[in-house]
């Protein structure tokens, strides 16, 4: 895994670079209680992709996301980061951000301080981080709430703060674990649109976990369908609809067709476990 620094960065939006951003090779994860959360999962994630991991709950979506984020090691298999910088010991230093299902904000800190956190942990002072924090807050439309505390915000606004915190480090890869699952439908649609706009503008790579067929089709250009017991990939389909996508897309026939396909794939994935 030797890397030529000159090739390390290539952030051409949406370009499928010849080498994947992340490459999972035969990843398995067995927890100490014997649960096989993932079995022999392999997949390449190319730069600029918006991937949805779609599957019933318990199929290992969160587990694979955590493994990619470096939280917990796989029991077997390897993860490669062909285009990321590596430290002296050869460990990859991917630029990742994670958005959890819960907003996961520090209740004792203001919105500003919550978003500042990733930079603060890197030793960047409040003054030095100021512009970047405000820029991130502006991206999610919360620049007026910098001094508010999380408890003063609605669920959707908290999620926006969480997204701003993920964006403040200017990541290459954004991992999102059912970020909007707890929100009402109107807020979710709104955040879906805002997320898509940001993605089109900045061109990160996104891995988006969801159990909603509709959400996955609306957002992503690739859907990876997973099945449970053991967690594995059962389908990998492209969504070839052009961006920008908006409310018209939600009612189009092409959207309907993709939803049908994804639904079928999901049901056959669940059919393998008829006791569910």
């Amino acid at each position: 895994m030797t890397i030529d620094p000159a090739q390390a960065v290539s952030s051409d939006a949406h370009a499928s670079a010849s080498r994947p951003l992340v490459s999972l090779r035969g990843i398995s994860k067995v927890f100490s209680n014997g649960t096989t959360a993932l079995q022999n999962m392999s997949m390449d994630i190319r730069q600029g992709e918006f991937i949805s991991l779609l599957g019933p709950s318990g199929c290992g979506k969160s587990t694979v996301l955590r493994i990619i984020a470096g939280l917990g090691d796989p029991s077997s298999g390897t993860i490669e980061w062909p285009t990321s910088n590596h430290d002296a010991s050869g460990k990859a230093l991917p630029e990742i951000s994670f958005v959890f299902q819960e907003p996961t904000l520090m209740p004792w800190a203001t919105v500003f301080n919550n978003v500042w956190l990733p930079l603060r942990l890197k030793g960047i002072s409040k003054q030095a981080a100021r512009d970047r924090v405000l820029e991130a807050l502006e991206m999610v439309g919360l620049e007026k709430f910098a001094e508010a505390y999380p408890r003063e915000l609605s669920g959707g606004m908290k999620m926006r703060v969480s997204i701003a915190r993920a964006l403040v480090t200017r990541p290459k890869l954004l991992l999102m674990d059912e970020p909007f699952a707890a929100l009402d439908e109107i807020t979710r649609f709104k955040l879906n649109n805002d997320l898509l706009h940001l993605w089109e503008k900045f061109g990160w790579t996104v891995i988006f976990v969801t159990h909603s067929v509709f959400e996955s089709v609306y957002l992503s250009n690739r859907i990876v369908v997973m099945a449970a017991r053991p967690g594995r990939v059962v389908n990998d389909m492209a969504v070839d609809a052009p961006y920008p996508r908006d409310e018209d897309f939600r009612t189009s026939s092409i959207y309907n067709d993709y939803c049908k396909d994804a639904s079928l794939a999901l049901h056959s994935a669940m059919g393998a476990n008829d006791h569910l």
Binding site: L71, F100, E102, M106, L117, L121
Partner: protein, 294 residues
């Protein structure tokens, strides 16, 4: 209380309604806070006056001898007359209480942090902290009296032992209750142990610590008194507990009451102080310090 109209009475009540009554009372919002303020001060004051009046009346009506139950006036008189002795004793009790509390805070928080950083330290030390806590302090006091260089330091050690544990156990619990998602987040952003402690674990342990502080504040005073009962200190270094016993021996019941009142007032002030500290630190973010508003 004929001035309280049914409407304001209802609004004052709804502010204290249990959590399951979730009906908003928007109509009364404007009047609510002022009425509530007045009621909050008025009711306890009226209640206190009524109790003292009842006490005075009872003593007079039944001609209770003052060495059994002195009248409020006699107690007040004693409080003024013996203020020199009582205030000196109060000062000593306060000194022991607050020194012990301060040491308990430093020791309790310090040990809790140490135990949160190392499982080994926790396994080695926690059982002994529990043993010290569950053994009644009056039972250890005689031993401490023998080993400690002075009576004062013995009292201090007793009060410290009692106040220390709630701080330790609450802070430990708090440090362990850190949100796992936030821990994951910190790990992902490459936070080191120190950063995780300062920016995450300590703030999230704060409400637990403050609950411990409130318990410890009360216990420090109780322990300072109980230890002095056990130690029976004498002379110029006597605290309020000794003055209490002394008054009892001499059947100077008005002074006993005066000392008792001083102790109660001290306890209430300590409780109020720790509550205020707790409120100031948590009012911006923690559920316990927020007024429920629907």
């Amino acid at each position: 209380m004929s001035t309280v109209t049914p409407a304001t009475a209802a609004s004052a009540e709804s502010a204290h309604a249990p959590a399951e009554l979730d009906e908003p009372a928007p109509v009364f919002v404007a009047r609510d806070s002022r009425t509530e303020q007045i009621v909050k001060i008025l009711i306890p004051t009226v209640m206190l006056a009524a109790l003292v009046a009842l006490w005075a009346w009872y003593v007079k009506a039944y001609e209770v001898p003052h060495y059994i139950l002195p009248s409020p006036w006699r107690v007040a008189e004693s409080l003024i007359k013996d203020w020199g002795t009582l205030s000196a004793a109060l000062l000593i009790t306060l000194k022991i209480t607050f020194t012990a509390l301060g040491m308990a805070l430093v020791g309790g928080v310090g040990l809790a942090i140490l135990m949160s950083q190392s499982r080994w330290v926790e396994l080695a030390l926690y059982p002994y902290a529990v043993i010290l806590q569950v053994t009644p302090i009056v039972a250890i006091a005689p031993l401490i009296l023998i080993y400690a260089p002075t009576t004062q330091s013995a009292l201090l050690i007793c009060a410290w032992l009692v106040a220390f544990f709630p701080v330790l156990s609450n802070t430990t619990q708090g440090l362990k209750s850190t949100d796992h998602n936030l821990l994951n987040l910190f790990e992902m952003y490459g936070a080191n142990r120190w950063q995780t402690l300062i920016h995450l674990k300590l703030p999230s342990a704060l409400p637990y610590f403050l609950a411990g502080l409130r318990i410890a504040g009360g216990l420090a005073l109780i322990a300072a008194v109980v230890a002095e009962f056990a130690a029976g200190s004498a002379g110029a270094q006597s605290g309020l507990a000794y003055r209490l016993l002394e008054s009892q021996f001499r059947l100077n019941i008005p002074r006993l009451f005066a000392a008792l009142i001083l102790l109660s007032v001290t306890g209430v002030i300590i409780f109020a102080m720790t509550s205020v500290v707790s409120h100031l630190l948590l009012r911006k973010w923690h559920e316990s310090a927020l007024k429920r508003e629907n």
